[in-house]
Amino acid sequence: MTYRDIIVYLDTGSATSARVDAAVELARRFEARLTAVNLVPAVSSDGGWQLCRDNLQASFEEVASRAGVANGHRAVSPDASAARDFFAHDADLLVVTQPDRRNAGAVPVDFPGRLLLAAGVPLLMLPVGWDAARAIGRRPTVAWNGTGEATRAAHDALPFLRDAERTALFTFDARYGLGETAVEGFAAHLHRHGAEVIVDGWRDDGRGDWLSALFASLDRERSDLIVAGAYGHPRIAERLFGGATQDLLGQDLLPVLLSH
């Protein structure tokens, strides 16, 4: 499986240029068609949105064409609300940037989360201030907790994993190191899919938290991409009590590929 269709969302925020550059590079790497979905009509409240939309489209097409990437452009309607209105079901990968509340003209802060819940397509979220010259996915870390969501995320990330120098399979488990656990079997499965995988297991002994362990792992492995399943628990529970997905959506160090 590979990414044949990638969608990148355009808005008038300052992160759009870097996001387009990153998406163009991914489309070039995976030989995918890149479609820009222009959010301006749906988020712009002034009458000059047509000019904004046209400028964004022209800029995107120039960058994509210069890179030799097959590309297209679609604009959402002003009353777009559901995932299908944002053409989210028409791709293998969606590229967005982490919401930045300080960024005027950008999309609502809950847009990536809503898209993630409703699209059925993996979502690559770039951190605010991402430098498009940095590589994505050469040394990914898959955060795996033995759930269906995490398993699906790893499968969705296979085009990255097969292309990577090395993939770290991170697990934070009270049973780790006490006998054979499922993570070794899953690592072998990913290896059969063509990924070079090492298991980076941490035993949960009650003295640390998974997020601290994950970031220690990312640092040790010099990772450039986090892969994780999202919203394994009800979203309202995450909002009330915090959760892994919210933690990952809030971190601003690395791109994260999320699947739900």
Binding site: R4, A83, A118, G120, T147, T151, H193, P234
Partner: protein
């Protein structure tokens, strides 16, 4: 791409050999590794409760050799959580309808479908070979169907025909273009109003041997809520079912 298949069966049941044959055939086509997870209940000594299972293991090994399949046999974990965890290292889980109603173990029961990571292929009773020559795909632009397309793609690409059935007023043109672009031989049927009751008869009318459906919702908190449609299709044994979550 399918590299790891798991077939869940109870080796003491009459339909086990037929299900095994379908799984071996599918593994041979995909050049995938096949794990036979045996759901049969061990007796107090830890052995299989019936000599049939020992004969089954010998027949299984012969089938692997004949099919050129890299396969092995395992006793399935006794607890449902362990069973679900074991299936995570697979691209596709195959089960028969017998496993769904096994008197010995719950196996891949309808409620468990919602908790799995990989898609589950529930083979039809009878039939000569593995399902997937003509595939019926109920479609609407939502998360469940989008995931189902991704999960079913290895089967869609090798099918003789894929029949897309719109479930709402939306146009299937975009999804049909995407499928056609990947070499899938796809055509659209007229939309149906009541999918719960119309899909099984429609599958028989168009000669489909496999229906693809998607479940919605995250695993843990909605696992028991399998839609009526899926439960009804599981009960209808004449057509195989690929369930994606």
């Amino acid at each position: 791409m399918v590299v790891d298949l798991i077939v869940c069966l109870d080796s003491t049941t009459l339909d086990a050999p037929a299900l095994l044959a379908k799984a071996v055939s599918r593994a041979a086509v995909c050049r995938a590794r096949l794990c036979v997870l045996d759901l049969c209940a061990p007796d107090a000594l830890g052995m299989a409760s019936s000599p049939t299972s020992l004969e089954f293991v010998e027949d299984m090994r012969a089938a692997f050799r004949l099919g050129g399949v890299d396969g092995h046999h395992e006793m399935a974990p006794a607890d449902p959580a362990g069973l679900l965890e074991r299936t995570l290292s697979a691209d596709l889980v195959i089960a028969g309808r017998g496993a769904a109603t096994s008197p010995h173990r719950s196996g891949i029961s309808a409620p468990a479908l919602g908790a799995l990571g990989p898609p589950v292929l529930i083979e039809a009773d009878g039939g000569a070979g593995p399902a997937g020559r003509r595939i019926l795909f109920p479609w609407r632009a939502d998360r469940a169907c989008t995931r189902a397309i991704h999960d079913a793609m290895p089967l869609l690409e090798t099918a003789d025909e894929v029949v897309l059935v719109p479930l709402d007023d939306g146009s299937p043109a975009t999804v049909m273009r995407r499928l056609a672009g990947r070499g899938v031989r796809v055509r659209a049927e007229a939309s149906v109003d009541d999918a719960d009751s119309a899909l099984a008869p429609l599958a028989r009318r168009v000669g489909a041997d496999l229906i693809v459906v998607g479940l919605g919702g995250p695993a843990r908190w909605r696992a028991p809520a399998v839609p009526t449609l899926v439960a009804r299709l599981i009960d209808d044994s004449s057509t195989a079912l690929l369930v994606s979550r």
